[in-house]
């Protein structure tokens, strides 16, 4: 047993040890007395002599107890109790202090819990830090520079690379699950067999598919834990069973563990073998795969980037569009997306808020120190050393911090519920909890805060000489130095508040800009959903079915318009094509990429699109030798600057083949097809009925939009019935209103703006309280001086100005520093500005005005009090 544990044991047996020690010393006294009696002293006399010889019993006891090693602890407990008593004695002061700390610690705790879940916790893959995603860098094309690679690239990269242990592809493969129970559309992905070993995750039931199964196109699937529970009641016999996907039988061979997810969404229910057809393995234009790879040990990201860029240029050297490079990004970054920047920014904002809270508290404690000056002086006079005094003050601060932390955790819980929606959709649903990691973090934050706000006052108070403190009316307190210190505290908190306010203002501007973005769609009362058309591969049957289902939807009471499009607007960034104008040579093709959408005639009236010129699709546009197309403004401006594109002819898709020439008949005003926050791209719209000659790569008008006269959600079941009345096996899924889509896309900017705004307002509040505190302390402290000045002829106006000037000086200094800091901070948050360039001037002006108004108020009240000092009373106060 080592000495530490022995002491700990003694601590537990404290009472017994105390009694034991007393008996031991008693024995010593008796023994001594007996000895003296033996030498001939009378009993009484012997006992007294022994006592004298022994000395002060309780002092010996105390000295011995000190050796047990818990004096420190007892001292701590005493100080803590004293701290609690202090808190009870000054309820006002304590309430402010605890509330301030609670805001600071609650904010940082909630932010950290979200930060931890999204950015720190290991992803559910083996050694996830070495996983990267690879994207084609199509810098030259119009649509997007970052492009999904082609499966053929995977084949080549896998064959030639030297830096990855393996690569896997992951392609869309949504499917209709039917058979037992209602048909259901399920999100599915097609992955290569390398996917499982690459991620280091295996099914919890059954197995993953093999290379052989992948290559031979065996119909096997691995299902998600969620689907297993929802549809198959957690039955272990699911493994080996056949299920129907798109009306074809597949054998379930495995069930993934709960909590497994992978890009692009947490909701994927089915993984099936990629089984590339032979033509896909050599076709470099079919870009629909996401590629994930695992870096070999010792390969850095930088090395991987260079090596892959070179490899890609080599592989695509003969591509008719010219060679292209690639992007290599860590998987974590891909999953966190923009949330990463938002979380980092917000975590820093919460740090700033906590700092402001600490600075404020330090100021409060310094001011209170004056009140407690006498107490400290008495303690020092009675022999308390400096160390002892400092430890007493720090312990008291710790008690405050402890209570503040508890209150902060209570505040953090509802904030965490709010922050849960910040977790990106690419991750598994996360419930933010106060687990040990978060609690450890808050404890560390509380201790750091204590040191920040408690140390300066503790050091200052303990330095005071007893004489000064004990002298009646001792007013010499800390002189110019303390003013300097308190003033810099005020400047620091003002600067931090200004920084938060400015960043918040910039985000707010961006948010407003996003909110006011013209979607090109009237978004209210618009219902959207998808009806996968895999059962209508035949063109004529498909056209007939789409017309019939739209007809049937229009018959529902309350429906104004219904139309169909190949991709629900605002949701999908891909599906693009090369195009060629009549008379152009093939050389210009590499740059000419446009999004294309296949729509029905009613699509534009349904969403409320507007024309710039020309016309929309009309009833006369039928299947014919001369099909028509509508383009968006970006397309028109890119290809026909200053001219009208109407009448121009173009073709697309497999350009070498003989295809129809499409004639442009109209230019539609921008519709944000790719998403609210995404850039606009050239877009071509085709009429579904005229796409018979050209294989539109699965671009079938499966997305339905319905304009209603009432709340769109109220007709959902009627819509399902209407579609099932045409085809009772037709799946309907992803039912949502357009406003929900917009809301979800704006959720990150909405939440980061709201949170940063809240932090900024709290910061402003705390900073103004701080300013007020310091000034009113100065007024109280200098009442005598003011009295003397007034007695000597200073007017109350002069006094008012002198205090007001000091307050405003501090504010302006803080403002200047804060604006400089904000400039630096703003640079790090460009990802959150979504390409928008906010105008600094109005934000800065507004922030300055707000701060000055608040500061003037905070200064005016104490300054006025100073100017109202009655010299007679002030001097009599002496």
């Amino acid at each position: 047993m080592n000495s530490f544990f022995r002491k700990l044991l003694w601590l537990a047996q404290r009472r017994d040890k105390q009694a034991e020690l007393r008996r031991e010393l008693q024995f010593h006294l008796e023994e001594e007395a007996e000895e003296r009696q033996e030498r001939g002293l009378a009993e009484n006399e012997a006992r007294w002599a022994a006592r004298r010889e022994f000395g002060n019993v309780s002092l010996v006891e105390q000295a011995t107890r000190d050796e047990w090693g818990w004096t420190r602890l007892e001292q701590l407990a005493r100080d803590a109790l004293y701290g609690l008593r202090q808190i009870r004695r000054n309820p006002g002061f304590s309430a402010i202090a605890i509330a301030t700390l609670a805001l600071g610690i609650g904010g940082i705790t909630a932010m950290f819990s979200a930060f931890d879940v999204v950015l720190i916790r290991p992803l559910p893959y083996a050694d996830a830090d070495r996983l990267v995603m690879i994207w084609d860098d199509m810098g030259k094309t119009d649509v997007t520079s970052r492009y999904q690679p082609a499966p053929a690239e995977w084949v080549e990269w896998r064959r030639l690379n030297t830096i990855f242990t393996d690569l896997a592809t992951n392609q869309p493969g949504d499917a209709t699950l039917s058979g037992d129970g209602e048909p259901e559309q399920v999100p599915a992905r097609k992955v290569t067999w390398t996917f499982w070993s690459l991620l280091g995750v295996q099914p919890m039931l059954g197995r993953a598919f093999t290379e052989d199964e992948d290559i031979k196109n065996v119909r096997v699937v691995v299902i998600s834990n969620g689907l297993w529970q929802r549809r198959f009641g957690c039955s272990p016999s699911i493994v080996g069973r056949k299920i129907l996907l798109n009306d074809e039988p597949y054998e379930v061979i495995g069930v993934m563990p709960r909590g497994f997810y992978f890009l692009p969404s947490r909701e994927i229910d089915i993984w099936m073998p990629a089984s590339f057809p032979p033509w896909l393995r050599t076709n470099f234009t079919w870009h629909d795969a996401q590629i994930v790879a695992r870096l070999k040990h010792g390969v850095t990201l930088e090395h991987a980037r260079q090596s892959m860029a070179a490899l890609s240029l080599q592989v695509t050297a003969k591509d008719f569009r010219g060679p292209h490079s690639v992007f290599v990004n860590p998987l974590r970054e891909e999953i966190a997306g923009r949330t990463q920047t938002a979380l980092i920014l917000l975590l820093w904002a919460s740090v700033a808020l906590l700092l402001i809270a600490c600075v404020n508290l330090a100021n409060l404690l310094l001011s209170r120190g004056v009140v407690r000056g006498r107490e400290v002086a008495v303690r020092a006079a009675l022999g308390a050393g400096r160390g002892r005094l400092v430890s007493q003050f720090i312990t008291e601060s710790l008690v405050l911090a402890g209570l503040g932390t508890i209150a902060g955790l209570v505040l953090a819980l509802p904030a965490m519920r709010f922050l849960e929606t910040l977790v990106p959709e690419t991750m598994s649903t996360a419930r933010l909890t106060l687990d040990w990691r978060v609690l450890t973090f808050s404890a560390a934050a509380a201790i750091a805060a204590t040191l920040i706000f408690g140390l300066a006052p503790a050091l200052r108070e303990s330095r005071r000489s007893p004489q000064d403190g004990l002298r009646e009316g001792g007013r010499g307190t800390a002189g110019a130095r303390s003013h300097w210190f308190q003033h810099s505290l005020v400047i620091v908190e003002t600067a931090l508040a200004v920084m938060l306010l400015t960043c918040g203002g910039l985000l707010l501007q961006t948010f407003q800009h996003l909110r006011n973005t013209d979607l090109g769609i009237r978004s209210e009362r618009l219902l959207t959903f998808e009806t996968p058309l895999f059962r209508y591969r035949d063109f004529d049957r498909r056209v007939a079915f789409v017309n019939a289902e739209l007809e049937s939807i229009r018959a529902i009471p309350g429906v104004i318009h219904a139309g169909a499009i190949s991709r629900i607007p605002l949701t999908v960034t891909d599906q693009a094509t090369f195009y060629l104008f009549a008379g152009q040579s093939g050389d210009s093709i590499p740059q000419q990429v446009a999004l294309f959408r296949v729509v029905t005639r009613d699509y534009y009236p349904t969403i409320g699109a507007r024309l710039r010129e020309g016309r929309f699709f009309e009833i006369s546009d039928r299947r014919s030798e001369s099909p028509v197309a509508i383009v968006n403004e970006t397309f028109a401006d890119r290809n026909f600057p200053g001219r009208s594109p109407v009448g121009a002819q173009l073709k697309f898709g497999q350009l070498d083949k003989k295809g129809y020439w499409y004639t442009i008949v109209g230019v539609v005003k921008e519709i944000r097809e790719r998403g609210v926050t995404e850039e606009l791209k050239p877009t071509i719209y085709l009429l579904h009925e005229q796409t018979d000659q050209w294989s539109t790569n699965g671009a079938h008008p499966s997305g339905i939009v319905v304009r209603t006269a009432m709340e769109p959600a109220s007709i959902i079941s009627a819509v399902r019935q209407a579609i099932w009345s045409v085809d009772k096996n037709q799946p309907v899924w992803r039912v949502q209103t357009l406003e929900e889509i917009v809301g979800r896309q704006l959720s990150t900017p909405t939440q980061s703006t709201a949170l940063l705004g809240a932090f900024a307002v709290l910061a402003l509040l705390l900073a103004s309280v701080g300013l007020y505190g310091v000034l009113s302390y100065a007024v109280t402290h200098r009442t005598n001086e003011i009295g003397v000045r007034m007695a000597l002829g200073a007017t109350s106006r002069e006094i008012l100005l002198s205090f007001g000037k000091r307050g405003l000086g501090l504010t302006l200094t803080g403002l200047a520093i804060g604006l400089a800091l904000a400039g630096i901070a703003a640079r790090s948050m460009t990802a959150l500005l979504y390409g928008f360039r906010p105008n600094y001037l109005p934000t800065v002006t507004l922030v300055s005005l707000i701060l000055l108004t608040v500061a003037v108020l905070a200064c005016f009240i104490p300054a006025r009090r100073a100017s109202r000092v009655d010299p007679v009373i002030a001097l009599r106060n002496e």
Binding site: S3, R23, L59, V60, A63
Partner: protein, 118 residues
């Protein structure tokens, strides 16, 4: 407090611990007996004060060099007896050689004449 006779020697830092350990080498005994033993053997030159003795005993116990238990004294009373532990024995050897080296060094410096005459 105790008045110290001028003829008595003040304890050097740490020497009391060594003396206690050495005393206990003869066998387990109680605090009072330890004090008397040191006084008697040093021919009353060293006076052990209770204010130093008991803290020292408890300190040594906390370090695990000695252990305590309640036993009957030779007069039949219950007393707290201390005995040397294995760790304490080792410590005694170490402290002793350290002390001997120290006192030899002190002697050499204080009596340089002895060396010159040699």
């Amino acid at each position: 407090m105790k008045r110290t006779a001028p003829s008595r020697v003040e304890f050097l830092q740490g020497t009391l611990d060594l003396l206690i350990l050495r005393t206990l080498l003869a066998g387990p005994t109680h605090g009072h007996a330890i004090a008397k033993h040191i006084q008697r053997i040093s021919e009353e030159l060293l006076q052990v004060e209770t204010g130093s003795l008991y803290p020292a005993l408890h300190r040594l116990e906390a370090r695990g060099w000695i252990a305590a238990s309640w036993e009957l004294s030779n007069k039949g009373k219950r007393a707290r007896f201390y005995r040397l532990t294995r760790l304490g024995r080792k410590q005694l050897v170490a402290e002793r050689s350290k002390w001997e080296a120290f006192s030899r060094a002190m002697a050499m410096i204080l009596n340089p004449a002895d060396r010159e005459t040699q």
